[in-house]
Amino acid sequence: MDAALFSSILFATVVAGTPLIIVALGLLVSERAGVLNLGAEGMMAMGAVAAFAVTHSTGNPWLGVLAGLTAGMGTALIHGVLCLSLQANQVAAGLAVAIFGVGLSAFVGKPFESVALPAVPPIRIPFIADIPLIGEALYNQQALVYFSWALFWAVLWFLARSRAGLVLRAVGEAPASAHAIGYPVILIRYLAVLFGGAMAGIGGAFLSVFYTPMWMEGMVAGRGWIALALVVFATWRPLRVMVGAYLFGGVMITQLFIQGSGLQIDFPAQFLSSLPYWATIVVLVLISRNPNAIRLNSPASLGKPFRPEQ
């Protein structure tokens, strides 16, 4: 493989992995607080459409990202109200958020289906972008790619080193004890859910404003669900989320490169396109095969409603 091809595959892999990292890290924080939000696909779709609409009308992609963040949070808030204030089943509420978000985004996005946005130029980091082979691929990227790295370090530090992170984990592991000590369990869970929504919104914004600067119904294409699978795959640890997201990015990109290479492979394009979905299944099987890994690492109260006694 020549250097230019390697560089472009690496570049594309990083880009494809970025939304997964951002969304999965948000979900990870929410799940560490004990709240399962299956609505990621819907929150991403809402973030994508809001970001596209605002970028389209203001011309400023950063206002777009802000709008995506807000839309993702707003959608997550519904999940929070249902599960945290009204004690609804988290699986059912998450599915409702997914269906509603995908539907509402299709509805409000209809007028934008035929417009395109100008591509946002990447940000080149001086000097290190000149490193041969990997410099161009890693350090001449969209700002949100750098954001995803910063987010990784921030989440890692928050969960492992900060006092607030410790409280959040306590809420996820033993909500009754956390409540007894006097921590506001419901409030902390709300904040975690909103953070998850905000990150899903940014992930969606990355798709519609930076990755493919256009809006199309169903453009999230299962990435929200893949991000949920990634969190399980990562056994709720940020570093493994990073690794997993780039692996998935690699699978998505490799199949695109094979399809685009014009290689005369007698293999239908649809089968190649289904690879990321099969990969998700395979990865889930590999990680779940060892039930202890899941049981030891999953937050003890994940998916269980909690109601503080008055």
Partner: protein, 354 residues
């Protein structure tokens, strides 16, 4: 000050009133949405509630739309009752359509009366086979069935697309991604002259009856319910958790497969890549709104079908995207989940007594 007070016992009244409350709230939200969009709310109401059912043809279209929803939802309910979360009915629906189409295309020359039963069987088997993947991976490797069944929806869609762009494409079809039209022996007969309502509706009613007997009157159904409501008790009683997962997923897959068969052998008359109507996802809402009960699912599927048709009418006459029906469907489920709080809690005014 308003506050929620736990009830000592779940309220049976609210169990059934909560869907009605949810439907009412959805209706009010709908009026508000039309008003916000600068459309006449009463006109919107007319297109969503009245004009779809104003004549016999309209009613037949409503029942036609409700058919796949009933089938998918009753199958899902069997699993949901046991806490088996099959959310890939959409994919199992597509595989059922593929299985049935395979039979219809392979026996295109024959006009035997056995073709339709064979298609029905193939559809149910193909749907069940697709659901067997998450069932196997869950029981053997404890892989989460929600994510696996959902991933398989995307795979199913790509598989259908490959078939109709590739090996199954109609050579006379001017290159459109669709199979040849099925011959008459492979089409479900219509129930009423001049309408599109077909025999599949009878399948759906049959499935509801079967679902009722299985869930509410059979020992296995009872075991499934125990597994869902009290997993520990089920284990103590020696009920096999694996069997519960297999039955939950396979019945959902088979029912969705029959729905897919009824769609290609009914209103479509061929297999195309435009199979993604979202019935499999909407059926999740139907199952919940119908309280995972056969009779409730019958009513809920009619309501959801009304929302589908209303969306089409809103597109045609009010210049609104038809995806508005998905918005209403999502709202319906939100309001239902929210109203369900009153099953276990009652609303009190004033401070709690010490």
């Amino acid at each position: 000050m308003l506050r929620l007070e736990p009830r000592t016992e779940a309220s049976r009244l609210m169990q059934w009133c909560s869907p009605l409350l949810a439907a009412t709230l959805t209706l009010l939200a709908g009026l508000a949405i039309f008003w916000l969009l600068d459309k006449d709310p009463l006109e919107g109401l007319h297109y969503f509630l009245i004009s779809p059912v104003k004549d016999l043809y309209g009613v037949s279209e409503l029942l036609l739309k409700a058919t796949p929803l009933m089938l998918c939802a009753i199958g899902l309910a069997v699993g949901f009752r046991a806490n088996v979360w099959n959310i890939g009915a959409e994919g199992q629906f597509m595989l059922g359509a593929v299985g049935a189409s395979g039979v219809a295309l392979y026996f295109a020359e024959s006009d035997s009366a056995l073709i339709l039963p064979a298609m029905l069987l193939a559809g149910a088997l193909a749907g069940a086979l697709w659901a067997a993947i998450p069932a196997f991976l869950r029981t053997r490797f404890s892989a989460n069935e929600i994510l696996v069944s959902l991933m398989l929806v995307y795979v199913a869609q790509l598989f259908v697309s490959w078939l109709v762009f590739g090996p199954w494409r109609d050579p006379m079809g001017f290159g459109f991604p669709q199979t040849a039209m099925f011959h008459d022996a492979a089409l479900l007969p219509t129930l009423l002259d001049g309408t599109r309502l077909h025999l599949g509706f009878v399948f759906a009613l049959g499935a509801l009856a079967l679902g009722y007997v299985f869930m509410n009157r059979s020992y296995t159904g009872f075991k499934m319910r125990v597994a869902g409501e009290a997993a520990e008790a089920a284990r103590y009683a020696g009920f096999s958790a694996r069997r519960v997962i297999w039955i939950g997923l396979l019945s959902g897959g088979a029912a969705a497969g029959v729905a897919g068969m009824a769609e290609v052998a009914g209103p479509m008359g061929q297999l195309t890549d435009k199979l993604n109507f979202g019935y499999g996802f909407a059926a999740i809402i139907v199952a919940f709104v119908g309280r995972l009960h056969a009779f409730g699912i019958l009513l809920a599927s009619l309501l959801m079908a009304l929302l589908y048709i209303g969306g089409e009418q809103a597109q045609q006459y009010m210049n609104l995207p038809s995806s508005i029906s998905m918005v209403f469907q999502g709202l319906l489920l939100f309001f239902l989940l929210g109203s369900d709080v009153f099953i276990h809690y009652r609303l009190r005014i004033g401070r709690a007594r010490a």
